[in-house]
């Protein structure tokens, strides 16, 4: 037979403790170093090879014709450039891993909120 109400001392101890809940928008979250946050794309380093689009499981990357026609080192012109749809990206980090030029990075930032769809696409 157990005793009833053995939580009592713990309950009253919590009355004087600071509550555990973090009021997120006003108090900032402490994110660890390698946090997989919002995606950022370094356009200059990108050579438009399209490996990231091929490996993206959520199909959130799409290859678009490169308007800048940036010349690559070896005389050729970069034909297409990836466009990232952040509302579909699940931040798995496969593109970061498979990009040969390390052009994509997941930064330590949360809060992916936007009013228009355009804000959610990263060139």
């Amino acid at each position: 037979m157990g005793r009833a109400g053995i939580l009592l001392p713990v309950l009253w101890k919590h009355l004087i403790k600071k509550p555990f809940t973090v009021l997120y928008p006003s108090e900032k979250l402490t994110l660890p170093e390698g946090y997989r946050g919002i995606l950022v794309h370094d356009k200059d380093a990108c050579i438009g090879c399209g490996i990231c689009a091929k490996f993206c499981s959520a199909e959130a990357i799409e290859l678009v014709d490169d308007r800048e026609q940036k010349p690559l080192g070896n005389g050729k012109i970069r034909k297409n450039v990836p466009v990232f749809f952040l509302e579909r990206c699940m931040r798995c980090g496969q593109c970061v891993e498979s990009c040969p030029k390390n052009a994509i990075k997941l930064q330590k930032k949360v809060g992916l909120v936007a009013y228009q769809k355009e804000d959610m696409t990263v060139e």
Partner: protein, 329 residues
Amino acid sequence: MIDAVLAVFYLLVFPGFVFLGVYALLCEWIDRKAYARMQHRIGPPWFQPLADLIKLLAKEDVIPKNAERSLFQYAPPVALAAAAAPIINIPIWGTQALYSFQGDLLVILYMLSIPTLALFIIGWASGSIYPLVGSMRAVTMLFSYEVPMILACLSAGILSGSWSTSDITAHMATHPLEMLVLIPGFVVALFALQAKLERTPFDIPHAETEIVGGTLTECSGKKLAVMRLTGDILMLVGATLFAAIFLGGFVLQNGSFIFSGYDVTPLTNFGFYLIKTLLIVFILATIKTLFARLRIDQMVNFSWKYLALAGVFQLFIALGFVSGVKGVA
């Protein structure tokens, strides 16, 4: 003419409906805040109960197809009236209630059990299966916690030799030591009140994880607002009744506290009243945080095995005390 206006004022404003409503919402807030803080959470802001009430009043009031319309619509106001009415017979500041007569203790206890009957009618009249099961459970619980509660209150009456709450409080005020005799009765009454208000561990009729909303599943809009307000007022009136009977000792006699020429005792007594009721509400919140919900059969045999026995035991102590000590002294 004057006392007619005064009576309306008493009925509607001070110890009447407005004061009850505001203080009931305050009690609900303290209950929810203490519940949250004990669970290491922040808890609602002070205006949350008021906001809930206003939101519910604005919401659409749906009546299910196969419900008995009249019963379903008029049961909530009856419950609210029955819950709020006894406040007149219970002394709030000092030892004299607004209107007291011999036997008003029984009237109060009877009025306090009408909301449960109204809940049964609502559950039964709403015609769907979950409220039906919920209302059946509410009534089975009614039989099990009503007896210990009455026993506890009667033993207070026996000590002071009268059935009027005001006389009980007056007696307690003059002999504060007799409160110690009533301590088991106070514990029994608190558990019975927790069962009457259907709060964990006795919230079986509207056990949210088992039969969805229980008796109040089909209520919405104004009816739900009225029923929640009834629950709060019931808690407040119950707390006031037990504060008056069991903690009656903390009441000062008139004229014993003169402050710069004015007789300030009614104010201090009102302060004591606030402290007493908030203490009771806090104890109820602790009980709510402490236990898991009991099943209906466990609840019934808990109240018959422990509460009723404690009530009878308290009755014998009161009788023994009255005939023994008082008889000799």
